[in-house]
Amino acid sequence: MIAVQHAVDPLSVPSDAPEHCPGTESELAGKTEACAGCANQDICASGQTKGPDPALPFVRERMSNVKRKVLVLSGKGGVGKSTFTAQLGWAFSADDSVQTGIMDVDICGPSIPTILGIASEQVHASSSGWSPVYVQDNLGVMSVGFMLPSSKDAIMWRGPKKNGLISQFLKDVDWGDLDYLLVDTPPGTSDEHLSIVQYLKESGIDGAVVITTPQEVALQDVRREIDFCRKVGIRVLGVVENMSGFVCPSCKTESQIFKPSTGGAKRMAAEMGVDYLGAVPLDPRIGKSADYGVSFLDEYPDSPASAAYMDIIDKIKQILGE
């Protein structure tokens, strides 16, 4: 039987390395068969690469003003990462004294600008770096969506270019003093995830919130995401089950659109040994609010979904030690 090999430390493989790169920090760097022909073989063999990435000191300097860094992850797409990130941002910034930043590292499908209602904005550069786009005084946002000539344009980039942009987001954006930096990620466990973890390794990531939907197909991907967090040493703050149950607006009966055929997120969290933060019901108005770029929590504060959101957000605050 053929099986996938996991021998190297995924964090030390550069984004543009040959297929079987042993990782630049490995003892074998520059010396294995796979290194033959790599343009950087001599550099690896000389031992220079055991030192840190030159961007890291700059990232560290910027990030020294950020108190807490939280990733929003999920293995699967379309489960509500961006919507949740936006709600989290809005909820944190409801307190005037709290400064929050949202960084969208989904390079190929940036949704954050639309969800926050700032899709037509652009990024301005100043002597202190790129200024984030502000939704309100204390909520700054950075996304590749602000840099495209039109929302129809696709970014067809391979890994190394995406990583370059992520490092710029971290070192060149003038975030100012932040209490929270929320990072919205694309689905999967690939370049963007490795890069963000690599660049923030020194400054420290406070944890990751993992979003899922109740069906097994999504949970499968989420287990992989939690496995990823363990491999790279990120603390999982907890799992949120989104789109959990749907209340018919006509007869008020609750039904399960995405049936938790294997016990849902709650059981998965228990099996994986991570905290379960709660479930948010599927409410069509959440998607509508996202399309129109308004805060669901502000528009429908009395809905059950809002209550669920607030409960989860309070738990996250508590875990982060507020």
């Binding site: 099986a3 197909v217 992989r224």
Partner: protein
């Protein structure tokens, strides 16, 4: 075209049509549409041979949906043997990175170059044999996997086409537009657009709720001159069928463990009883027609 004889070209020689299922956004139902497409093509004729290739390397869902979780890939002298969903009939082959993982919760943490290599292997090393259709399920976005696919399949470009899947919300449509821009840039003909998760029928009172709004896909197809292939509502029956593919197994295993083939026929039988399969049938008919050279009917496929 024949001048370039890469291993991929050689391997894909015996494949008549390659359909790439894509969407800019995640979770809109690419995998479930791919599976439905494969099942419907399989059922379209008693001799149709279909392959389904899952290039979503960091989140493979196809094995689960076909009830093939936990199966492994075997090496033969002619290459990797796909996992056949219909057992001994071998008309529905499947290949996914999910079959290569030791434990199903193992994550594949790969950067671009390794993904590229895996895709190349999938295309050059899998012994598909004669196929009428190869359905390729892609991950969300327009990045490494997509570029690699197109690059490696360049020698068979004339046999490639794409189906775009979206949900009706604005956020998903925006990403679908990006996907469309991608297909135009790489000169990939688009067979049409499918709107998924368009409405949900309450099992209690039958009221249709537009959970993720509605009509957006049709509107986009109209504006962009694409063929609108149809809209599929949220079908809980289908979600359950594709999700709990495993749940059907123990019952079967208790009865007669060795009869694996029976079970997969059950998947297709069960599928054909869902309401989605009835909605999908005309979509597939149009696709088969279009691939046979008849056009999709109405608007032609997109020009570059």
């Amino acid at each position: 075209m024949a001048a370039i004889e890469t291993p991929v070209a050689k391997r894909l020689k015996t494949i008549k049509h390659v359909i790439i299922v894509c969407s800019g956004k995640g979770g809109v139902g690419k995998s479930s549409v791919s599976v439905q497409l494969a099942l419907s093509l399989y059922a379209s004729s008693p001799i149709a041979r279909v392959g389904i290739l899952d290039v979503d390397l960091t989140g493979p869902s196809i094995p689960r949906m076909l009830g093939l979780d936990g199966r492994g890939v075997l090496q033969s002298s002619e290459g990797w043997v796909p996992v056949y969903a219909d057992g001994s009939e071998t008309r529905l082959g499947c290949m996914s990175v999910g079959f290569l993982l030791k434990r199903r919760e193992d994550s594949v943490v790969w950067r671009g170059p390794k993904k590229n290599a895996m895709i190349r292997q999938f295309l050059s090393d899998v012994r598909w044999g004669e196929l009428d259709y190869l359905v390729i399920d892609t991950p969300p976005g327009t990045s490494d996997e997509h570029l690699s696919l197109l690059e490696h399949m360049a020698p068979v470009h004339s046999r490639l086409s794409a189906v775009i899947v979206t949900t009706p919300q604005a956020v998903a449509l925006m990403d679908a537009m990006k996907c469309l821009s991608f297909t135009r840039t790489v000169n990939l003909p688009v067979l049409g657009l499918i709107e998924n998760m368009s409405g949900y029928v309450c099992p209690c009172c039958g009221e249709v709720s537009n959970v993720f709004s509605t009509g957006g896909g049709q509107e986009m197809a109209r504006q962009e001159g694409l063929t609108f292939l149809g809209s599929l509502p949220v079908d809980t029956e289908l979600v359950t069928l594709l999700d709990a593919a495993e749940a059907a197994m123990p019952e079967q295993a208790a009865d007669e463990p060795p009869r694996r083939t029976e079970r997969t026929f059950r998947l297709i039988d069960q599928y054909q009883q869902t309401s989605s399969s009835k909605l999908f049938k005309p979509i597939v008919e149009r696709l088969i027609n279009a691939l046979a050279g008849g056009g999709v009917g109405g608007d032609e496929t997109v020009q570059a």
